[in-house]
Symmetry: C2
Subunit: 314 residues, 2 copies
């Protein structure tokens, strides 16, 4: 698939950090930055932009905040050849915490929200636009809401100035047919806007659903090195880059970064295809109970988790 409009956004540090409270050291973030640059990836989402009033630096690493001096340590003195992005969660950032674009190395701020927060997200995103950033709104967990609620959110987003809207499969619950249907719905409801996709791999469909999104016309594609990310993780960027035919993309630097930086983390944290994440995905549930199970001593007691989740059904 060669379509020049396609942009790849790597979320290794941001989404992977949900598994280790952003405890990536500078060597990790630096090598990921170099590898993504060399691979021709369009954006690196280097973390969240959050208020230090909401989280403690004792508990979470620097990429929960994306302070300019931390970013500067990664970039160094070299010319920045990849765009940098940070994600903002509604309610976890004050507008005053966001610097003017001219004072920041960030190029893009992506606002994550649930459907009922669409108004607040639009307000924050407009604020980011006013400050000079590229901006997206990432509408999370749409697998859990009805079409009336989705329509209402999409109608609000259509009227906003936010140019890029994301279809997000937060729980890894969608099949390709769902993506196809929703991608068309987003494009019809949001004329003139670019659509993005962010998938989770609970049912081993993150890559397949990203391809389904591409075929349906989605142009902003999220992925991470070796799929690192919350729970079952994300679309593996090495698969996505191998699939895309734009000659600017190179996979070799990504393989190198996986070998040097991701494999060591795989021995410490359990993202990827595990049965508890598969069950939460099939059941269209937030992965938090599956993550708690995976972090417990009973992580191989698969049937206990299955019975716990299915017995909670109405």
């Amino acid at each position: 698939m060669y379509r020049p409009e396609i942009k790849v956004i790597d979320c290794t540090v941001r989404d992977g950090g949900l598994m280790n409270k952003w405890q990536f050291d500078e060597a990790f973030v630096g090598e990921v930055y170099e590898a993504l640059t060399e691979a021709g990836v369009d954006y690196m989402e280097i973390g969240y932009i959050s208020s230090e009033k909401c989280f403690s630096r004792q508990e979470v690493g620097p990429w929960k905040f994306c302070a300019e001096n931390d970013i500067r340590r990664i970039i160094g003195e070299r010319e920045k050849k990849i765009k940098l992005s940070a994600m903002a969660d509604i309610g976890r950032i004050d507008y005053t915490d966001i610097p003017q674009k001219t004072d920041s190395s960030l190029d893009m701020i992506r606002v994550a929200c649930y459907a009922h927060q669409a108004d607040a997200a639009i307000d924050l995103a407009h604020h980011c636009l006013d400050k000079g950033y590229e901006t997206t709104i990432n509408l999370m967990a749409v697998s859990t809401i009805g079409f009336r609620e989705l329509d209402e959110a999409l109608n609000d987003l259509a009227k906003s100035s936010v140019p890029i809207i994301y279809l997000v499969d937060s729980f890894g619950a969608f099949y390709s047919e769902d993506i196809d249907l929703l991608a068309k719905k987003y494009m019809q409801s949001l004329p003139g806007k670019t659509i993005g996709i962010h998938t989770h791999n609970n049912q081993q469909l993150a890559f397949a659903n990203t391809i389904a999104g591409i075929i349906a016309g989605i142009n902003f594609l999220d992925a991470t090195l070796y799929g690192i990310g919350r729970g079952a993780g994300n679309c593996p960027i090495e698969l996505l880059i191998s699939f895309l035919k734009n000659p600017k993309f190179k996979v070799r630097p990504l393989i190198k970064a996986i070998e040097n930086q991701i494999l060591p983390w795989q021995k410490k944290i359990d993202w990827g295809y595990y049965v508890p994440y598969m069950i939460s995905g099939v059941m269209n549930q937030h992965p938090r109970t599956a993550m708690a199970h995976m972090e417990s001593e009973n992580k191989e007691k698969l049937l206990d988790y299955y019975d716990q989740i299915t017995s909670a059904l109405p």
Copy 2:
């Protein structure tokens, strides 16, 4: 997807055995048999049917041969409620090694072949039909041949009496669009026959490609517990059963068998999504070099494998 014609074939012992020379003990095969029966799975492929002249029992376990007395030990005295299948490789079995159906607990023999072996496969399959078995031909590695060669094989198969023909993605190289195209081609070229699909997970597309096959009209679906199988493994049966809406299928017994029998093997053998398998899949190559790399001390030297494979390109 509820379509009563759909049949699910579990290949846990047969394809998983390619990773451990069929060294599954009786408790393993027995629990898998019970779990598949309870889950409503249609067929259990319990191994290969091969000549003892071609392989040594010292080296490979009993499920490389599927002798009747070994099968009997698994079934016990209870009524058999699941059909049993064995795979035959061209050139590794004498016709005289195949018992009459009336003397065997096997219900189906599946003949695996490459396109250039289609004539020999048809001959063997006709022999199995004559002896009273259900029979399929599984045309392997079709990602490596041109359409002329494929057409020739399909034309021969169309003229045969073999009722079920498989589309096999031996190298895990296909995208869903390939499956869609090929499934339609098989159905047009093989009027009146049932089409099956067997996928590999090198690009995390085994399940997605199986769904693509279902949508295109394929009705015989191969899968294994937790995806266990050669290299990157197969379509995970727990995902497939959760996707299919036929109420006869139950996922809980499969989760239990994974917990009890598959997780312990995961600590001993490396099937699943690993970068070397991903590279061989993207490069449309036999997984043998990736498997050799994964079995070496250098299995985490991903870049060495990448450079080895890509430097061998013409």
